[in-house]
């Protein structure tokens, strides 16, 4: 079945440094969604990418969807302590009823 691999599993940065997490799918995706889970919280939707090569920005966050629609990245510029949490990508592969396959998540720690 479809697999979505996400790296790195952990990332520790100093406040102000940049951060990137990457997702790779074993199959072509119809869309990719990104979620953030704060410590002790539940995943919260950030964004959805649908088009090949799409780039979207939300303030300091930049999301990219690869040309082949098999990979994606989330880049945070100048991290802040409020960015801590686990970031998940989730790929929609056109399977039955739009099932999402989640990556393992990247746990981001920001040191002040």
């Amino acid at each position: 079945g479809q697999q979505v691999m996400q790296i790195p599993q952990y990332q520790h940065v100093q406040e102000g440094e940049d951060f990137t997490t990457y997702c790779n799918s074993s199959t072509t995706l119809s869309n990719i969604q990104w979620y953030k889970q704060r410590p002790g919280g539940h995943p919260v939707f950030l964004i959805q990418l649908v088009k090949s090569g799409e780039v979207k920005k939300q303030k300091r966050l930049t999301f990219q969807f690869g040309e082949a629609k098999k990979n994606s990245s989330l880049h945070i510029t100048a991290t802040q302590t409020t960015d801590v949490g686990t970031y998940f990508c989730a790929g929609g592969g056109g399977t039955s009823y739009g099932k999402l396959t989640f990556g393992q998540g990247t746990i981001l720690t920001v040191h002040p």
């Binding site: 539940h42 959805q48 989730a90 929609g92 039955s96 009823y97 739009g98 999402l100 998540g105």
Partner: protein, 112 residues
């Protein structure tokens, strides 16, 4: 605001017990999902439902069953709890295919 609620935040059960986890959403969403979240494994789909009385197996359905008698409620049942079912269980709902998923707060289940 979409609200997804789960019946318990924390639950302790004994091996062999039957366990019911309840999820309710208040936005008339058609699709509902049950995931389990384990460190390093991300979110894995157990079952999902795209309509009342309809269900489909996810990636790890073994040892679980579900029930959806009403649109707003989706129940996860552990027929005979085992220690390897100790996990965080997250319910989610969405309005339609390839739309945002809204997550509940999660139930942390410990099986002794």
């Amino acid at each position: 605001d979409v609200k997804v609620t789960q019946s318990s935040r924390y639950l302790v059960k004994r091996t062999g017990e039957k366990v019911f986890l309840e999820c309710v959403q208040d936005m008339d969403h058609e699709n509902m999902f049950w995931y389990r979240q384990d460190p390093g494994l991300g979110l894995r789909l157990i079952y999902f439902s795209y309509d009342v009385k309809m269900k489909e197996k996810g990636d790890i359905p073994e040892g679980y069953s579900v029930s959806r008698e009403k649109k707003e409620r989706f129940s996860l049942i552990l027929e005979s709890a085992s220690t390897n079912q100790t996990s965080m269980y997250l319910c989610a709902s969405r309005i339609g295919l390839e739309e945002t998923q809204y997550f509940g707060p999660g139930t942390r289940l410990l099986v002794l």
